[in-house]
């Protein structure tokens, strides 16, 4: 189902906020954008073509584990993000579909540059296709699924302790 121009603008603006909060490691503000049944999934290449959870993933968080992940980062003692990686990401090629009266699925492409300031001081590029599923609530949109399908998902990856 197609969406209106207004809906498209609203969703793109929402995702730009999500991207910025992730880039700036504003963990609690980012977590406020996710719904109570959130699934956050970064599969391996092998696992990406199967139902989530069949194979082990790089990240496969339910809502409770998303909370744990943010809680750990918020301790300020997670060495792999002390200090937090400076990051910037761009998202483009949005394909937005209304999947119900109050739900949307979005596919987009994402290029993330991450500077590993805590250790090797290299800039790592994380190209990915991203799938969002959003649900409209009275107080705005919430993310109930985020899948990040890395281009390099079949390879050995450096640390990924930040929000991708």
């Amino acid at each position: 189902m197609n969406v209106s121009v207004e809906e498209r603008l609203e969703i793109e603006e929402f995702l730009a906020l999500e991207a910025r909060l992730a880039d700036e490691s504003r963990y609690s503000e980012w977590e406020a954008l996710v719904d109570d049944d959130m699934i956050y999934w970064v599969p391996t290449a092998e696992g990406a073509v199967l139902p989530p959870g069949d194979k082990i993933s790089i990240i496969f968080d339910n809502r409770s584990r998303v909370a744990t992940r943010m809680r750990q980062l918020n301790t300020g003692k997670r060495h792999s993000q002390v200090p937090a990686s400076p990051m910037v990401r761009t998202q483009t090629n949005f394909q937005i579909e209304a999947t119900g009266a109050d739900t949307y699925t979005i596919f987009c492409t994402q290029i993330l540059y991450e500077y590993r300031i805590q250790s090797t001081r290299e800039t790592v590029t994380w190209p990915a296709r991203v799938e969002y599923r959003l649900r409209r609530h009275p107080d705005g949109l919430k993310i109930y699924f985020k899948g990040v399908y890395l281009v390099s998902a079949s390879d050995a990856l450096p640390g990924l302790p930040f929000i991708i």
Partner: protein, 435 residues
């Protein structure tokens, strides 16, 4: 004594390992020298035993997985029901990579370059336009690793025809593999949960060192302890030294362990739950091993141990260490999925695997950064690293050296065996100060 930097060439004299590895300290060049790395690849990874795959990864004839040993790509392939071969993944004709997929199944191994075909024993069986090939086909088979042996489905391989029998290499540590297998009521594992690979910009030896270092836990993982209630609260995070009852163990031949089991008092505590969660699993274990032993296995939980040089029995996971260069390596892991248990048990193992190990995990992401900082700090000149902790309180129990969880007994054992291997010593020296 001379130390080798990254630019060391093969024409330089062999490093003096006896000087670089002392009883209670080691030299930093062991983590940075190109010459030492190349020497390790030859002496440890080509001339010794390395873990390559588990039988359950390639259950049917023709099933294969790709791995790397000492920088060489290899194919681990099941040729017959009870026959697994390990070939260098390189065509005998013009050296092309034969198999580009990470895993799969094949009836024959066919090169994409000129179409040469090999059977599952590596024999050259077909050559396109055969009239032109007048050479000896028998000499043009695949390079097969001369020694492949397994213990309970864990396959090891060596490029060295004269390597000691696998069971001599494993020695007493075979009991650790038993402990992992016997988390299943059938005694069998089913390692089909997929692999995740985590790239460390550090020397490979920091993996087997850190993975059995019980001292760092409170300092590298305080964010875990603060954010997550877990079985490690009792087993590894106690603040007072005397409250930590977990132990460090050295099993000989470079095999090391930290054992949390003394901290566990109830069935499935290691799994973060109790027996009411998986009654079928508990019942099947009791049926398989008897009431007392079945419950004991479920209380102790799976081992946390490194089998020299590259296998990690990582509680609910199986891990592998892959050296890439002096300053880079890969930590692989797959969940320890069990045969003969309800789906819920294996699902929980998968989720715990994701929580503990891998690039985004609550634990290993932090270990990786610490290793990378050590690598950075070593620079080119290295200096000395101290390994003396607990040297005065380690003791022997049934031929296994035992120390406090936080003692460097494990790392001393690793390094002293390493020194013996690198200097060509026939048998590992006994650990110092045995009781």
């Amino acid at each position: 004594m001379s130390f080798h930097g990254k630019t060391a060439s093969s024409s330089e004299p062999r490093p003096d390992y006896a000087a670089l590895i002392q009883e209670d300290r080691i030299h930093g060049s062991l983590y940075t020298s190109e010459a030492i790395f190349n020497d390790e690849m030859q002496r440890i990874f080509r001339e010794g035993w390395v873990y390559v795959a588990h039988e359950s990864e390639i259950p049917k004839r023709g099933d294969f997985v790709r791995r790397r040993i000492a920088g060489d790509p290899v194919i681990v392939i099941r040729a017959e029901d009870e026959q697994i071969n390990v070939f260098v993944n390189r065509c005998a004709h013009r050296g092309n990579l034969l198999c580009a997929e990470d895993r799969g199944s094949a009836r024959a191994i066919v090169c994409k370059y000129h179409g040469w075909a090999y059977d599952l024993d590596g024999k050259l069986v077909d050559v396109p336009y055969p009239a032109g090939l007048t050479g000896d086909r028998k000499a043009l088979g695949l390079t097969k690793l001369p020694r492949v042996e397994n213990y309970r489905g864990f396959y090891f391989a060596s490029f060295n025809d004269n390597v000691i029998p696998l069971m001599d290499h494993l020695g007493k540590s075979a009991a650790l593999i038993d402990r992992a297998c016997e988390m299943s009521p059938t005694g069998k594992l089913k390692l089909d949960g997929g692999w995740v690979q985590h790239r460390f910009k550090s020397n490979w030896k920091m993996l087997p060192e850190n993975d059995v270092d019980g001292y760092h836990v409170n300092f590298v993982h305080p964010s875990f302890a603060q954010a997550i209630r877990s079985n490690y609260d009792a087993a590894a995070f106690k603040n007072d030294e005397e409250d930590l009852v977990s132990e460090a163990r050295y099993w000989g031949m470079g095999h090391t362990e930290i054992d949390f089991s003394k901290a566990y008092t109830s069935v499935l505590e290691w799994f973060g739950c109790d027996e009411t969660r998986y009654p079928e699993y508990v019942a099947n274990m009791v049926k398989a091993y008897g009431e007392e032993l079945g419950r004991k296995k479920l209380t102790m939980g799976p081992p946390h141990a490194c089998i020299f040089p590259n296998l990690f029995l990582a509680e609910g996971n199986i891990g592998m260490f892959e050296p890439v260069s002096p300053t880079e390596c890969i930590h692989w892991h797959t969940p320890l999925l069990l045969e003969g248990v309800e789906k819920g048990v294996n699902d929980r193992l998968k989720r715990q695997s994701e929580g503990a190990l891998g690039p985004a995990a609550f634990l290993l992401a932090d270990d990786a950064v610490i290793a990378e900082r050590t690598q950075e700090a070593l620079g080119q000149s290295g200096g000395w690293l101290d390994l003396s902790r607990g040297i005065d309180r380690e003791h022997e129990e049934d031929g296994v050296m035992v120390g406090h969880l936080t003692d460097e007994l494990t790392n001393r054992g690793f390094w002293h065996h390493y020194r013996d291997v690198m200097t060509g010593g026939p048998q590992p020296a006994r650990l110092v100060r045995a009781a």
